[in-house]
Symmetry: C2
Subunit: 366 residues, 2 copies
């Protein structure tokens, strides 16, 4: 692997869309006792179900710590590859490199800085050195040369790309004080263009309320086609979240793609608020002497937080009082993705760890 | 990766020869402070030189601990892949799986137990759990199904195979009390046949004097063609080592391959005894409170401890008073391998760690 310092855009490399053809998917075996309740047992089963489903149409590599390798190997299905790699938690979306293509069959990785969603300002854990090192190791593992973009903090969940030069993100996240506080909005936009080979950035204002990532776009709105997005939609017109969703839809309806096309917005109703139980909270280690979660704060559940695989879409189901909403969301997604089989995976045990299916996966383009 | 319990031989899988076409090579970044003097700095340079040479004709994967990954990445040439994996030392030959082929393009790994060359009886370090776990991880990493042969202790350096059913080993090693003491010679032979798909085992008596591995065959005698071996040869007719070499040559001249062919023996003169200096010994951490090495005991230097790559042979040079012997050995090897370029790498800094180029490499057949 070569470590490159240049500008990906100038070299003709760019970020493809997630709905384009993929070579595989990266995941991480959950282990952290202050993120995953009761020894991560149920979370691991949910991760295995996601990995199993994706592995039906593309290769899946699951990273596991040295201590957990043998355990992970036996819990994960044989169709999945388990590779030892040390990380600080299990968020492959955010700590993997962005895999860029030159459109002619060569991939390169863009390896950004990672500081646990806000560093010492409002990050979620410390230290985060293993997570920060993972993107370089992943470029090496997958034999792609790496652009070293470590002086810029960026997580995969904070961007969504249409593969034709248009990138979607939120101001709440990318302009947050814990990421790149010395850069202006304009400078950040330039970095995205240089490092990811995009030509236009569409800035939404906010993500979901209660999202611990400072409003990652992948929990509220993602590209599902070159000129189409799926937007998580709060149908309660009196809610604060509804106002945010409305603002997103206004921005999108007044935006065009880099090549001038209007953007079609598919609204997908949000599930009812999901709360952790007291028992679930009690299953978590304290973090730095404080409880990790309390049962009174709703988790930022969203159907948009899904993984698009080659011939299928893997979406979260929340069950319980959301059982009907789950099926309704699946119907909508099946219409949006007519050529892919949409599968729901019961993902409560991923959600209560702090994210969902999109957060725990990262695609590798073909 | 599937974990298989069956018999490789019955499934039609067998161990190919090292001189057959390879897909790549595994190595490990040296780190252990009681094996590698003065922070392993010189050893790492020697390992990098070996990796660089092999990577000219096949892919090389170097395993490095989490702590050393970034360092290894920068010391190793860009042509080499560096992958995080925890091990107890740097002996890829002995802790890797044996990669078997069905002759039709499918590989499987045979994963044996590893106990640091003798376990609690006369092993070289404790614990060895990371080394023991590596062969499974390597099968997973390289996407090959694995035969679980962990109840049998076997190191790659203790066998040499002609790819046509004949395996060479030493009684000193395979019948040692620290390996599989509950098995008879006949039972061990059967295990080798079952697990490695060989039909005949040729038993040499001893390996090199002073070899810490209980006389690994790869330091004294290895196959270089289906019916040819290279034998390390002590020309001092009064020496104990000469008697051992003579015994090997007698056994080989009275043996045939599994398919009945006589075996041609190429003798290659041993280098003069190589000793560590006091200064080198002082550069090692103590092991369990005792000095790791002393300057009065000769190291088991041998030109046979080489790596056969696709279009080259990488052999150790010892320099100093062996400068001429190095060139003479290279000439002999170049005649034995007329279609490969023989390259000498200054390998004193590998030797004083306890092995040589064959010990730190492990081929993956094509």
């Amino acid at each position: 692997m070569r470590v490159l310092k240049g500008c990906a855009a100038k070299d003709g490399f760019y970020l493809p869309a997630e709905f384009e053809r993929q070579a595989g998917c990266i995941m991480i075996f959950p282990e952290r006792a202050d993120s995953w309740q009761y020894g991560a047992v149920k979370a691991r089963q949910a991760f295995a179900a996601v990995a199993s489903e994706i592995s039906k149409c593309e290769s899946v590599t699951v990273l596991a710590s040295a201590a957990q390798y043998k355990n992970a190997r036996r819990i994960m299905p044989p169709s999945v590859r388990v590779v030892e790699m040390s990380t600080d938690d299990a968020w492959a979306r955010d700590i993997s490199p962005e895999f860029l293509t030159d459109g002619k069959g060569t991939l390169r990785g863009a390896s950004f800085g990672f500081n646990a969603w806000g560093g010492l300002y409002d990050g979620l854990y410390f230290p985060w050195d293993k997570d920060d090192a993972a993107s370089e190791k992943l470029c090496d593992l997958f034999n792609v040369d790496m652009y070293d973009c470590h002086d810029f903090i960026l997580e995969g969940g904070s961007i969504s790309c249409n593969g034709k030069g248009t990138l979607l993100t939120t101001e709440e996240c990318l302009l947050s004080k814990g990421r790149n506080p010395s850069l202006t909005k304009q400078q950040i936009e330039q970095k995205l263009c240089d490092f990811l080979g995009v030509k236009k950035v569409i800035w939404l204002k906010h993500g979901l309320i209660g999202d611990e990532t400072n409003g990652h776009v992948d929990n509220i709105c993602v590209f599902c086609a070159e000129d189409e997005v799926i937007l998580s939609w709060d149908e309660n017109e009196n809610s604060e979240q509804h106002a945010i969703c409305r603002e997103c839809s206004d921005i999108l309806e007044n935006s065009t793609t880099a090549d001038g096309r209007p953007i079609k917005v598919h609204k997908i109703p949000m599930p009812s608020p999901v709360f952790m139980t007291e028992e679930e909270c009690a299953g978590l280690d304290y973090f730095n002497g404080a409880p990790t979660r309390t049962a009174d704060i709703p988790l930022s559940a969203s159907y948009v937080n899904l993984f698009i695989a080659n011939d299928r879409v893997v979406m979260p189901f929340f069950g319980g009082e959301n059982a009907e909403a789950d099926l309704h969301a699946k119907e909508i997604l099946q219409k949006i993705f007519p050529d892919r089989k949409v599968t729901g995976i019961y993902a409560r045990d991923i959600l209560i760890g702090g994210g969902n299916i999109h957060c725990i996966t990262h695609q590798i383009p073909e």
